[in-house]
């Protein structure tokens, strides 16, 4: 491999690591071999080769693509004009003259109607070249996505596009719905292309490393809405994930050791061969490993939002390890949120969807533990069985409402274990509107859990090896 390419690859891998992708040295070597095996002039092949060796989680793919575009840009400057490009007119200084955005808009409308991805990408490139530049400081230029999108404003094209796609008589129904979906998909394509092009231009002006640090920002922003800096999150994730895995293996391992099941005829006979066909030692089938069934019920109201973040992260980590985890969230009523935590999904967007889509508010959006317990008992009577461990996560601050102790008692009686993790310092329990004292009596144990360390301690105590 030529020195230049190798150096570039090493820088690229370093940037990936900084963006949170765990890339091992062996994988870097694989990537090098992979890239050498494909045609280096075919950029998409190079991208696919790197992706196959380096990017092994779908959630990382966006960061990967953004960084790849930065480190292996498709072109330099304006690039060679392709056929069909608008030639920007130059003014007397040799700079591109201000282009009439209307012309671009017309072209964009046609491209969106045809839906050819390459035309859309090419238009995005031109639009950035013509509209995206602004002088930020004397002698220095900068590139802005919003300048392009504001001037072209693709969303305002929707009406015209709909009219072009549909006849007048088809408005308002099924056909329009489908057409809308198609159009907004293509507009999103265009916007992403504009963003990528702006990043590339910026990187050219300011140096790749500078921009690479900011590329991962969108991911962080999504996560941010509940709190915690990106570093906090990364740290928390590093701690919580192995914990969830340990929890998973312990729950299965423990049962295997201490109980023997039915006679394993095959193994007994096989072992008897050693003793001339006389079965001196019997072998038993291991008891079917107890399927850990876990139901997590967590308070996601405003007062515990930072804690909710942490618990939802735990739920998501557990969900990646066990199949039988059901998660319920509540504010003043309760809804099942398991479906939002499909493994491999970006955690930030999962949380955003929980808050947006799940049915958590019934009355006024202040915590109501009592009503939430009742709803859980009523609507999901099959969720808690004698095999289930129930984990309640919340501060027990009930705004002086009915505690619903009967419902919690019923849940606790039905479940195999009930634990309560409380994010408040122990000395505040029971003060003010906290119904903690009452709840603590009903569950097996209530523990203080304010950070990952306390959670580790809890998991270890809960599951002695």
């Amino acid at each position: 491999m030529t020195g230049g390419l190798l150096d570039r690859e090493v820088e690229f891998v370093a940037a990936l690591r900084q963006a949170g992708l765990a890339v091992s040295s062996a994988e870097t070597v694989d990537a090098t071999r992979a890239v050498l095996a494909v045609d280096l002039l075919d950029r998409e092949s190079v991208r696919a080769a790197f992706a196959a060796a380096l990017c092994k989680r779908p959630a990382h793919r966006r960061s990967f693509d953004a960084l790849f575009d930065l480190y292996f840009p498709a072109r330099i400057g304006d690039g060679a004009p392709a056929e069909g490009d608008l030639a920007p007119e130059l003014d007397e200084n040799g700079d591109p003259a201000q282009v009439d955005p209307r012309l671009l808009r017309e072209l964009l409308q046609q491209a969106l109607l045809d839906g050819d991805p390459e035309t859309i990408a090419r238009l995005a490139r031109q639009a950035v070249a013509m509209l995206g530049r602004a002088d930020s400081q004397p002698g220095r230029q900068s590139w802005f996505t919003y300048r392009v999108l504001r001037q072209l404003n693709p969303d305002t094209l929707i009406a015209a596009l709909l009219a072009a796609m549909l006849g007048e008589d088809e408005r308002g129904g099924f056909a329009e719905k489908i057409a809308r979906q198609t159009i907004s998909e293509r507009i999103r394509q265009f916007e992403q292309a504009v963003e990528a092009e702006v990043r590339r231009r910026l990187a050219e002006d300011r140096g790749v490393d500078q921009i690479a640090k900011n590329v991962v920002k969108p991911l962080a922003e999504q996560v941010d809405f509940l709190r915690a800096s990106r570093d906090d999150l990364a740290e928390l994730r590093r701690q919580v994930y192995p914990l969830a895995r340990r929890l998973a293996t312990r729950l299965t391992a423990r049962k295997k050791v201490d109980q023997q099941g039915r006679l394993d005829f095959r193994r007994t006979v096989r072992a008897s061969l050693a003793t001339g066909g006389v079965p001196l030692v019997t072998h038993h089938k291991p008891k079917k490993p107890h399927k850990p069934e876990l139901v997590v019920l967590c308070d996601v109201s405003g007062s515990v939002s930072s804690f909710a973040h942490f618990t939802l992260m735990l739920v998501s980590a557990l969900r990646e390890q066990f199949s039988k985890v059901r998660a319920f969230a509540f504010i003043d009523t309760c809804d099942e949120v398991t479906r939002y935590f499909t493994p491999g999904l970006d955690l930030g967007s999962a949380m955003a969807r929980v808050v947006r889509e799940a049915d958590l508010v019934w009355f006024d959006g202040h915590s109501d533990y009592g009503h939430s317990f009742e709803v859980l008992v009523e609507r999901w009577p099959d969720a808690i069985t004698p095999k289930t461990s129930l984990l309640v996560l919340g501060d027990g601050r009930n705004n002086y409402r009915a505690t619903g102790s009967a419902a919690l008692k019923e849940l606790a009686a039905r479940a195999r274990h009930t634990y309560w993790l409380n994010p408040e310092p122990r000395h505040q329990w029971g003060s003010g509107d906290s119904a903690t004292a009452m709840y603590a009596d009903l569950v097996d144990e209530m523990v203080e859990c304010r950070n990952a360390e306390q959670l580790t301690a809890f998991v270890q105590k809960l599951l002695p090896v």
Binding site: V38, S45, A48, A179, G276, Q321
Partner: protein, 305 residues
């Protein structure tokens, strides 16, 4: 039992299994997969090419029904390889995945032994090839011809199975205590598929090339429909694909797979419909959506009622 006087023979240096690439270039992959009825895009073709060229296992992850298993079948059929499939499930163990001694036959052999047979001979005899039952992993490694080993739905198997796979996939060898180490004469083309119902271990992922298969782009899906159901008019194919994409964008229990898109096109064709309007969609929604709640949702959101 070996005679204590004989020195223990040194372990033979294990021969390294050879990689014999099947494909000449990325374009070659795409073309040959095409002849096998699989339309590959750039990423798929490149990754398959690399897995073949570097001799590394290929881990394909993605939602159900995007053609993960289909891809490995296509690779097998276009390279003329035999496909060996290991379907993973909870409780899959070594004896089912790797090898097992045929103890019934061993028992018979012992009972049939004449009294004057030396025990040593019997012992050596019952732990020989004849009494070995090769399971998929071992069979794939022992084959001389071109082989595609498909380890399907790895995420369904227990975590322990991943450990078992690690040895086989990194060195392409299997150690049987009584027989020694068996090294693959020729590396099989290994495909692992996962629906991502749980995260696989980093160690396993590190050893594989990774391909995330998602639902295809509108253009590619249309091409797939047209290649599988050539009789369908292009306009109808386009409508079906767009509608399916709208369905996938909804929050459904089970999003329609590619196979279901094809089924839908076939169904409409069989009913003699040449356009997908409200009535046709409402009547045939059952072909793509298999949950009542999903159907209700789609009817509401697409205004089919």
């Amino acid at each position: 039992m070996p005679d204590p006087a004989t020195p223990i023979a040194p372990l033979p240096t294990s021969p390294v299994s050879t990689v014999q690439p099947q494909f000449a270039s990325v374009a070659d992959v795409r073309e040959r997969l095409g002849t096998a009825g699989y339309l590959a895009d750039d990423a798929i073709a490149t990754t398959v090419f690399l897995a073949d060229r570097l001799g590394k296992p290929l881990l394909i992850e993605g939602p159900a029904g995007v053609g993960k298993t289909e891809l490995s079948k296509a690779v097998a059929s276009c390279t003329g390889a035999e496909m060996i499939r290991l379907q993973c499930y909870e409780g899959l163990d070594e004896a089912r995945a790797l090898y097992e001694w045929n103890y019934k036959k061993q028992l018979l052999r012992i009972q049939a032994a004449r009294a004057d047979d030396a025990w040593e001979a019997t012992h050596d005899d019952i732990f020989s090839e004849e009494f070995l039952l090769a399971r998929p992993l071992l069979s794939a490694i022992r084959r001389d011809g071109a082989t595609v080993l498909l380890v399907d739905e790895v995420d369904k198997a227990d975590v322990e199975v991943e450990g078992l796979l690690l040895e086989v996939l990194s060195d392409f060898q299997v150690t049987i205590p009584e027989l020694g180490t068996i090294v693959a004469a020729r590396r099989p083309f290994v495909v692992l598929t996962s629906n991502a119902s749980r995260e696989l271990s980093e160690a396993l992922k590190r050893r594989c090339l990774y391909l995330h298969l998602d639902y295809p782009t509108a253009e590619r899906e249309k091409a797939i429909v047209l290649s599988r159901v050539p009789e369908v008019p292009e306009k109808l194919a386009e409508q079906v694909v767009r509608t399916v994409r709208a369905l996938r964008a909804m929050e459904l229990k089970k999003a329609p797979s590619i196979a279901e898109t094809i089924d839908w096109a076939t169904t409409l064709l069989a009913l003699g419909l040449d356009t997908l309007d409200e009535a046709a969609a409402a009547a045939t929604l059952g072909v793509v959506l298999k949950h009542v709640s999903d159907q209700v949702r789609a009817v509401n959101e697409l205004k089919l009622s």
